[in-house]
Amino acid sequence: MKEWTIRIILLAALAALGFWAWSVFYPNPEKIIKKRLNEMAKAASHSSDQGLVAQAWTASSLAAYFTPDVEVTLDVPGVHHTFSGRDELMQGALAVRRAGRNLTIRLPDIKVILAPDKTSAEVYVTGEARVSGEKEVFLQELRLRLTKVKRDWLIKQVETVKTLSKGPLAPAT
C-alpha cells in the first residue's frame, strides 16, 4: 500500500515535470502573444529624464513589435489619426517622448483569439496610461491584429474600439 502511494506520487511528479517541460519547449501562442504585448507596453513607456539618444533608442526598439506595413487608427476625443507604416508610427512615438513627460503604459487585460491556422490572431486589449502631472488614468480599448512572421508575432493593425457605443443605431429597414 505504501509502495503504491510512493509510485503514484512519483508518477504525478513525473507527469507535472513533463507538462512543465512541454510548456517550456512548446509554449502556448496565447502566452507568447500576451508576454510580447506586455513587453511592448514596457518599451512604449518612458520617463522624462531620458536623454535624446536614449529616447531615440527606446523608440526604435518599439519597431521590433510591428510589421513594416502596420496601420494604427486612433479615434479618441481630440485625436483622429491613422499612422500608415512603421516609420510614421516610430516618428509619432518619438514625438510623444519628446513631450518630456513620464508615461507608464500597462495592459491589465489581454484577450487573444487565435485563427484556426495559428498564424494570425485578433487581440483585444485594455490599455492603461498614466502621465506625470495628470490625476486621471487614461483607459483605452484596442483591437490588434497580429501575424506570425517566422517565430515572432508582429502587430499588423491597431484600432481603437469601445465597449460602450453611443452612435445612433439605425433601425432595420
Partner: protein, 174 residues
C-alpha cells in the same frame, strides 16, 4: 528558572490568542475561511475601487465597493441600477455606470436632460448637470444604455453608451 516560570503563562496566553487551543483546528478554520473568501470575492461579491469621478457624487473617487455578480441571475437589470460593465478584453478594469434606458427604448439628450421614448427621465441622483444635446439613440434588443451620474464634462469625454447585456457583470451593492 524563575524567568521561565514567569514567561510560561504569558507565552501560553499569546499562543492561545494567535493559534488557539487546538492548532489543527485553527489550520482547518484558516483554510476554510481562505477558500470561502476566495469564492465569495471572486464569483459573488467582486471588490472594486472607483477610479475617476464619472459617478460623483454617488460614488466618490478611490472609494471601495462591491459588485453583486448574482444580482441578475433571476431577474434582468432595471432602470436606475448602478452596474459594473466589463470591457471587451477582460474584467480587470470595468465601467461603473447607471442604466438609464432599457432594451428597445429610444434615448435622447436634450438640454442636458434625458428623454426616454419621448418622456423626461427624472434623475434625482444627478447633482452636476450638463447641457448635452444628442441625436436619438435606439437601444438594441440585448443592450442597456448606461451613463455616469456626473455629467459636468464634455459629452465626448464621458464614457457612456449601449452596453451589451453579456458584459454587465453585476449590480453595485452599496
Amino acid at each position: 528558572m524563575a524567568t521561565s516560570n514567569e514567561a510560561g503563562p504569558g507565552a501560553g496566553w499569546l499562543q492561545r490568542v494567535l493559534i488557539g487551543r487546538n492548532p489543527k483546528r485553527t489550520v482547518v478554520r484558516i483554510v476554510v475561511l481562505a477558500a470561502v473568501s476566495l469564492i465569495v470575492f471572486r464569483y459573488v461579491l467582486l471588490p472594486v475601487r472607483v477610479d475617476g469621478g464619472s459617478m460623483l457624487p454617488t460614488y466618490r473617487e478611490n472609494g471601495v465597493n462591491l459588485v453583486n455578480r448574482l444580482a441578475y441571475l433571476f431577474r434582468e437589470p432595471q432602470r436606475g441600477d448602478v452596474v459594473a460593465v466589463r470591457l471587451l478584453a477582460g474584467g480587470h478594469r470595468m465601467y461603473l455606470k447607471r442604466i438609464v434606458a432599457m432594451p428597445g427604448e429610444t434615448l435622447v439628450f436634450h438640454g442636458g436632460r434625458i428623454l426616454v421614448n419621448g418622456k423626461l427621465l427624472e434623475e434625482p441622483y444627478v447633482k452636476f448637470p450638463c447641457d448635452w444635446e444628442h441625436e436619438p439613440v435606439l437601444v438594441g434588443p440585448d443592450q442597456y444604455y448606461v451613463v455616469g451620474d456626473n455629467r459636468d464634462n464634455q459629452r465626448e469625454l464621458h464614457a457612456q453608451g449601449r452596453a451589451p447585456r453579456a458584459l454587465i457583470l453585476g449590480k453595485v451593492l452599496l
